[in-house]
């Protein structure tokens, strides 16, 4: 199986097409590598495992020719990464399957203690507040605002309904707003509202 893919005898004529495909793959790789690593690490709680999962996802992506079948590879990539990451967790028996809220019961993924926030107001202050939310809310926030996915796409990835995605995002944004207001007393709001 390993070698079958590389046996061939033709030379130049194939090159342009293949190169184009490789370029496309590279573009996708560059675009999604870090978001997928962040996303996966949030689930596995382990950087090494996240790296393995993401790498294997890209291998699958290439092998399955997912590039041709889908215009928007994001849903596929995040779905496969998420499932693989959950499998890793399950194999290690670090989580119990309690339906929807499965990820939130993971012990190694405690959200950042909220009161630590104020010590660390450098870049991405909002993102640091995001890190204090329940993991599932963090997931939807990242998928929505980092990767510009629609409710529908997020629902596919999380294997849930668009309604539920709407509720998760709504709840997440509300908490974000409140927590921001709470800690940002001394900070300049992201956009002051004229009364």
């Amino acid at each position: 199986m390993l070698s079958s893919a590389l046996v061939g005898t033709t030379s130049y004529p194939v090159r342009s097409g293949r190169t184009a495909k490789r370029d496309e793959f590279e573009e996708i790789f560059n675009r999604f590598e870090i978001p997928l690593l962040q996303y996966t690490q949030r689930i596995t709680g382990d950087r090494e495992q996240a790296r393995d999962v993401v790498q294997e996802t890209f291998v699958k992506f290439q092998r399955n020719g997912a590039l041709r079948q889908q215009d928007e590879p994001a849903t596929w990539l995040f779905t496969v990464c998420r499932n693989a990451a959950l499998n890793v967790c399950r194999k290690e028996r670090r989580i119990m399957y309690l339906g929807e809220e499965v990820i939130e019961v993971r012990q190694s993924e405690q959200p950042m203690p909220f009161d630590q926030l104020q010590q660390d107001e450098a870049t991405g202050f909002l993102l640091r507040i995001v890190a204090t939310l329940p993991v599932r809310q963090q997931e939807v926030i990242q998928l929505k605002f980092q990767n510009d996915l629609s409710y529908q796409q997020i629902a596919e990835i999380l294997q849930t309904t668009t309604n539920n995605v709407g509720v998760l995002l709504h709840t997440a944004l509300k908490s974000l707003r409140q927590r921001y207001a709470q800690v940002a007393g001394d900070f300049i709001p992201f956009e002051p509202k004229p009364k």
């Binding site: 991405g124 929505k144 709407g166």
Partner: protein, 423 residues
């Protein structure tokens, strides 16, 4: 209108279809509170998007990138290997078949002498990584990005994702060992560039099985713990060629790594020379006679993909799985002039069964000692945790019968180097 309604958030995020959208617009028309909520969600969304963008742009990222971990800066700069590019290079090649049964030599050790006198200038290596030839300009850029360090020419770890294949030239010079030996015996540590690890390794004879009846050569693959970097694996490729033919200088062993098992790999030795030009591949027109009994020993240091420890109930299954999933496939490709295709093809696949270096064959231990000795002399950034003392121990463990005393001589040389290093 209740502001605690997910529909409002969906509205602010443009997730509603047209009819729902206008319904919300009507319902919120006379609710300043709802309008304010929507505006805040929009602001929040904008701020989040911009912070994520900034984070990605500045690389303010918690997890290390795959490429960074593997030290393979090629991925981002050069991009993946195109199969076609490799084929294009191979297609340039012609070949000659000279049968020379009369020159059949039965010992492997005498062969390297023949080769050094006949051929093989250092820059006549076959394309070790096909992409080097395919994209010279980016490759130069990569070298330029190597940082403040002087040019070392060392081959870096290469991500399997970016380049699953690598090739090893068949013909190896053996000048280097005598240079190193002369230098150390004269009381000087050898200059870095005179240390060519693949030449040092192949100065010594190794025993590999005879080829089977229908093959011209035997390819032997072993995987053990890498002694100078215990979380890595050390792959030895051993060739024993029994057919005496003249092969093109760009004949080689092509190795394909399995991305399901290997994160990155590094070919040990074969350092690039500063004077080595990118078009050197096109100069590979000479041929070398490969005498019967020719042996070649090459190492790859491999970073395995970390495996998830299997749950206890699936243990047996996972052992079976790992045995069935190979680490790499190696193919011997002999090319002769006038013959477009490969004349002799020997192929082997190896899985990693977890062998420790302690139980490695003595030839492997000895060759690994020579490799690490070379890396220490070069002050290689990949020398890992090994020391000259360990080199000595591995060489002694791997001394074997040593009928001609070469290995004893090496052990003596390491001792002398130890003294020189201390002084």
């Amino acid at each position: 209108m209740n502001v605690d309604d997910p529909k409002l958030t969906a509205y602010a995020l443009h997730e509603l279809d047209e009819s729902e959208r206008s319904a919300i617009a009507r319902a919120t028309a006379d609710s300043p509170e709802a309008q304010r909520f929507i505006a805040e969600i929009e602001d929040l969304a904008r701020a989040l998007r911009s912070q994520y963008r900034l984070e990605l742009k500045r690389g303010l990222i918690a997890p290390e990138k795959i490429t960074a971990i593997h030290g393979d800066t090629f991925w981002s700069k050069v991009g993946p290997l195109t199969i076609a590019a490799l084929l294009a290079i191979l297609a340039v090649v012609g070949a000659v078949l000279l049968s020379s049964n009369e020159s059949r030599i039965s010992t492997s050790s005498s062969l390297s002498g023949d080769l050094t006198t006949q051929h093989a200038q250092p820059n006549q290596f076959a394309p070790v990584e096909a992409e080097d030839a395919a994209r010279p300009s980016q490759n130069e850029k990569f070298e330029a990005d190597a940082g403040p360090y002087a040019f070392t020419g060392e081959r870096p770890f290469v991500s399997v994702m970016s380049r699953p294949r690598s090739s090893v030239p068949l013909m190896v010079n053996s000048h280097s060992y005598s240079d190193v030996r002369r230098s150390i015996n004269a009381g000087l540590l050898p200059p870095r560039q005179s240390v060519r690890i693949e030449e040092m390794i192949n100065h010594f004879p190794y025993e590999y099985p005879q080829p089977t009846a229908n093959e011209s050569s035997s390819l032997n693959l072993d995987v053990v713990t890498c002694p100078w970097h215990p979380t890595h694996r050390l792959v030895r490729i051993g060739l024993n060629a029994q057919q005496a033919i003249a092969v093109r200088a760009d004949s080689g062993i092509e190795v394909e790594f399995n991305p399901k098992r290997v994160a990155s790999y590094r070919l040990i030795g074969y350092d690039r020379q500063e004077t080595e030009t990118q078009d050197s591949n096109e100069k590979n027109v000479s041929s070398h006679s490969m005498a019967a009994g020719y042996t070649l020993t090459t190492f790859y240091e491999v970073v395995p993909l970390k495996r998830v420890p299997p749950a206890s109930h699936s243990r047996t299954l996972s052992v079976a799985e790992s045995a069935s999933e190979p680490l790499l496939t190696a193919k011997l490709q002999l090319k002769t002039r006038g013959n477009e295709t490969t004349v002799g093809l020997t192929q082997r696949t190896v899985s990693d069964t977890g062998f420790d270096f302690a139980i490695a064959p003595s030839d492997l231990k000895f060759a690994a000692a020579v490799a690490e000795f070379g890396m220490i002399l070069r002050d290689s950034e990949y020398k890992g945790s090994g020391s000259l003392q360990e080199v000595l121990e591995w060489a002694q463990q791997g001394k074997g019968a040593d009928v001609n005393g070469y290995r004893a001589d090496f052990i003596e040389l390491v001792r002398k180097a130890q003294v020189l290093k201390k002084s």
